[in-house]
């Protein structure tokens, strides 16, 4: 069990780092991307994250994780925090 949970934790970390990279690149966050924590609010708080940017981030996440996100797969809550976005991607890739 320990091995499995260690594996999950490492996979979660890898997902969050790639999500961070996509957010940082798409929104041009610079050093702010590195300071994002699980509780960091996104939609409504990051000025760069307008509606078009959300579409761009989703396209970037699809490319980075080789997934397809249907428009009814996702809700505004998934973009509420960095952690909620990482959870959403984790569910899509698992």
């Amino acid at each position: 069990m320990q091995n499995i949970s260690a594996k999950h934790s490492s996979a979660d970390e890898s997902v969050s780092e790639r999500v961070r990279m996509v957010l940082g690149e798409t929104l041009q966050l610079g050093a702010r991307a590195e300071s994002l924590t699980s509780a960091s609010p996104l939609l409504g708080h990051l000025p760069e994250l307008d509606s078009m940017a959300v579409a761009s981030v989703l396209a970037g996440l699809e490319e980075a994780f080789d997934i397809f996100i249907e428009d009814d797969d996702i809700s505004a809550q998934d973009f509420e925090t960095f952690g909620s976005l990482c959870r959403f991607i984790n569910e899509k890739v698992s």
Partner: protein, 312 residues
């Protein structure tokens, strides 16, 4: 539109950099041109047609296209771009637009370039524009090459990526309770409703056009796929190898399987169509222009793959 060709040719030749309306009334289209058009028939007689992306990406690409046009003009290469019906600063509403009208608009831009002395045409399509360029190329023997900048996989997916703008207008921080899920825009459109997405009125007709139009099974010219992004995204964890993401690779392989000759390359820069108007132009316009101009120095560009198709 043919009766307006002479007047538009005069506009092209009038200045190195020009913006003018081609046609009149509901048929008027805005043309932005750069380069020595009046000398075109004396030179290599190749002209570049920029095919813009769709909706908000189109607005955010205007500066990129203008900078590419400037960089090409500096190398005495003529180019133009034309706003298609119902988009940009022209007459007509998006809700009246159809995909076929946009294909005809690109053909009109090609006709204008030919009427102004171009013998060969190169289409540079950005995002959705790359799909439009593929739809136009086979119908014209004068299109000898296509460049697809960050190409999209197909029209149906391009539409769905655009429709996601709808849900982002809801702010989860607003109000006390949880945000109610939005009805899926694609399901509403499939059911025959017109949907307003980020200020754009999307009709079921245009939605169906995107869903039902397939890309050509063979492309009768060379296609270069230009992928753009900061290099870290394209390197393995040890930063020893540069390669496309698997999603980009799939898009390239699809093009490779259909084109007479296919190439892919990376340009290390931000994806400008996400950014609006950047403060700095970045490497992208110059790198695209150098690639189109045939500059072999390869500055800022990483060639990845090339292949000749056997299906010519």
């Amino acid at each position: 539109m043919k009766k307006y060709l002479d007047a538009a040719r005069a506009e092209l030749r009038n200045r190195h950099k020009n913006i003018f309306f081609f046609g009149a009334g509901d048929g008027a289209r805005l043309v932005t041109s750069q380069g020595p058009w009046k000398d075109l028939s004396k030179s290599a007689a190749k002209a570049i047609i920029f095919v813009q992306p769709f909706a908000e990406e189109m607005n955010r690409c205007r500066r990129l296209i203008s900078l590419c046009q400037q960089a090409l003009s500096d190398q005495s290469i003529c180019s133009l771009t034309l706003d298609y019906f119902g988009t940009g600063d022209i007459s007509g509403e998006l809700e009246d637009a159809r995909l076929q009208t946009w294909i005809e608009d690109i053909n009109t831009a090609c006709d204008l370039a030919r009427h102004s002395g171009a013998q060969e045409l190169c289409l540079v399509g950005i995002r959705f524009g790359g799909l439009l360029a593929q739809l136009v190329a086979n119908s014209r023997s004068d299109v000898t090459s296509i460049y697809c900048v960050q190409p999209q996989q197909d029209l149906s997916r391009a539409m769905r990526q655009f429709l996601r703008i709808a849900f982002a207008s809801l702010d989860p921080a607003d109000g006390d309770g949880p945000v109610a899920p939005l009805p899926s825009p694609s399901k509403q459109l499939a059911a025959g409703a017109t949907v307003c997405v980020g200020g754009y009125k999307m009709t079921p007709h245009l939605f169906r056009d995107f869903d039902e139009t397939k890309l050509p099974s063979q492309i009768e010219c060379s296609v270069t796929s230009i992928f753009v992004g900061l290099s870290a995204r394209y390197q393995d964890s040890a930063a020893t190898k540069t390669s496309l993401s698997s999603a980009d690779q799939r898009i390239f392989e699809d093009i490779e399987g259909r084109a007479q000759f296919a190439r892919s390359m990376l340009i290390n820069d931000v994806q400008i169509w996400h950014q609006g108007v950047p403060e700095e132009p970045g490497a992208l316009p110059q790198a695209i222009a150098e690639e189109i101009a045939g500059d072999a120095s390869n500055q800022g560009r990483t060639n990845l793959a090339e292949s000749y198709a056997e299906n010519s």
